[in-house]
Symmetry: C2
Subunit: 210 residues, 2 copies
């Protein structure tokens, strides 16, 4: 899609720090359809598969789906006990950031035009664990695994990648104590990684923004 074509991009999590950066990077040369749980042209709750399917039917034909949203719990391992998939402290991450994005990708197959792209979000914790971050590391690693696997099976030239940002400068006030010693990046740099995924031609990649 490096030929100057104007793309129609569904941006999930458009109102967040990363979502706004993605819109700032891509909005001038493409058509962004902002989506979110409580705001945006399209309402979507990625934790609810029916909401995802309905949102994608509502939005109609698109060239790209980009997700800049996903929740996990942060909890010390010492506070986590054995529990089922739905009762566990890992349940939020499994249902929201992991299966929410997996389901978004699966549903997007119906709506994406030939050669369209799916961009999910993981994060630096995949390979750099922090205390209280075991859910984030587990979920991010699973997302990157899904991207590698889905890339070889998607039909019609559809592509899928993940963007893996480190902690954002804009989030250090809130998350700084979890990320001591990490070098934060501005969200605008994360927006560039979404551009590489959406406007590039690779698939099955993890674009790190370290």
């Amino acid at each position: 899609m490096a030929d100057g074509t104007r793309l129609r991009i569904l941006l999930v999590g458009a109102s967040g720090t990363i979502g706004r950066a993605v819109a700032a990077e891509l909005g001038a040369r493409h058509d962004i359809v902002p989506a979110g749980r409580t705001s945006g042209e399209v309402r979507i709750d990625i934790a609810d598969p029916a909401s995802i399917v309905a949102a994608l039917r509502q939005v109609g034909p698109i060239d790209a789906v980009a997700c800049a949203s996903g929740s996990v719990n942060f909890r010390p391992l010492s506070a986590i006990e054995p529990a089922s998939v739905t009762d566990s402290l890992y349940a939020l991450g499994l249902a929201n950031k992991l299966m929410g994005q997996v389901n978004l990708a699966l549903a997007a197959r119906e709506t994406l035009r030939d050669g369209g792209s799916i961009t999910l979000i993981s994060g630096v914790l995949t390979h750099t664990p922090i205390v209280a971050g075991s859910s984030a590391t587990l979920v991010n690693a699973a997302i990157e695994g899904f991207v590698r696997a889905a890339a070889i099976e998607l039909p019609r030239g559809l592509r899928i990648n993940a963007v893996s940002p480190t902690v954002l400068s804009e989030s250090m006030a809130a998350y700084g104590p979890f990320f001591r010693g990490f070098e934060p990046v501005r969200a605008a740099r994360v927006g560039l990684a979404y551009s590489r995924s959406i406007e590039g031609a690779q698939t099955g990649q993890v674009y790190k923004v370290p």
Copy 2:
């Protein structure tokens, strides 16, 4: 634990191809407590958190927990639709191979002696996807993420690693069509990787058996 101490090792999945190889490698110099869903001294269903907790209380103090068991579905991506964590075709892998092993590790904290180890199983598909293997890749990647994260938070010198084998020579009759072009390994080599994890001193590692 390289000092010749005789270790008491709970081996989950002891009756399987890998479990038997682990017992063959370690059984002469350590005490293996075989465990399984339908056989073994200790009965354990890793998909059931209550079963895990009960099994570990039954077994009493141990020096190592090793898991050589975990189920996932193999299904073409084209046959997988958006669905909840419990209804999805990914549900088996999430509840069994992933959260089953996570819960085994969490429960083992109570039973393991100081400096004891936890060894989980992932697999070659983490980084080498195959058609119909998206659940395995997602789940294996998540297990390896959990291992990296848990390693920095476990108390009392407890260690945790994963063993990641490629397809087994012993399994090629059943799984060969999924693994065309893969060079299989004998289960005995996978047993050596469990030995490195249990009798070594590292933590947060993934021991590949390629």
